[in-house]
């Protein structure tokens, strides 16, 4: 995958921060507004995939490597399980909320729900990037 023309590269470069910010907003505000970890993670992953397609896989590999994505996916999954174990250790049951609830409608409220959504967002982002990398790597030998 050798990247595309200057027009596509420029538009991808200009569009990337806004798409990334929108995805991050959807993940972080998952407990207040519609959205959440899964759609937000998919939007962040789409912004990074856009860069991969525009600039070529070799250059994208230096920024977000295959190993980074693999590690991040595992970290997201482990974070969810550890947050669940907090409830098991301190509270009553698995995934029980042990943090203070806070005021309704504020950003720092709802106990562990935003943290869980953060874990899901990281996991989904890394997972979808990983799928794209796997698909692009598998056929790389045919082009050369």
């Amino acid at each position: 995958m050798a990247g595309m023309t200057v027009i596509v590269r420029t538009i991808a470069r200009l569009l990337f921060p806004f798409t990334f910010l929108f995805g991050a907003y959807i993940v972080i505000h998952g407990h207040l507004t519609p959205g959440g970890g899964f759609p937000g993670g998919v939007i962040i992953a789409a912004s990074i995939v856009m860069l991969i397609l525009a600039y070529g896989i070799e250059r994208a590999q230096k920024k977000v490597g295959f190993l980074h994505a693999e590690v991040l996916e595992s970290v997201g999954g482990i974070a969810i399980v550890i947050l669940g174990l907090f409830g098991l250790l301190l509270g009553i049951s698995f995934l029980q909320n042990v943090f203070p609830l806070g005021e309704l409608g504020q950003l720092f409220s709802a106990g562990n729900l935003p943290l869980l959504y953060l874990g899901v967002g990281v996991k989904v982002t890394a997972g979808i990037i990983l799928i794209f990398y796997a698909m692009l790597f598998a056929f790389r030998g045919e082009e050369e």
Binding site: G30, H31, L32, T33, P34, G36, E73, G77, I80, V81, G84, F94, L95, N97, L101, G102, L104, G105, S109, A110, G111, N112, L113, L116, Y117, V120, K123, V124, G127, L130, I131, A134, M135, F137, A138, F139, R140, G141, E142
Partner: protein, 99 residues
Amino acid sequence: MQRALALGMVVAIGVLLVFTVSTNLLPFGSFPSRQIGENFDNSIGQQILENAPQQTGAANVVTSVVWGYRGYDTLGEVTVLFAAVVSVVMIFRAFGRRE
């Protein structure tokens, strides 16, 4: 054969969708309810809608259902995603090595 099968499935689902919506058999977008005997009971959904902001502290009721009331289901969903990613990477790695 495969195309005929896919076409048949799309036609069947479409006819079912249009039929159920247009004849008011199942009102489109109605509140989910459970039928017990003669009367419809939607007490579970109603209770969640009323109590969710106080119990979980989240302004978005969908979030409080997804991670608050049904945490185990969502953990299973995340596990399914993990399994899907692992299997895709495994298959394409084996595919790349063979070439």
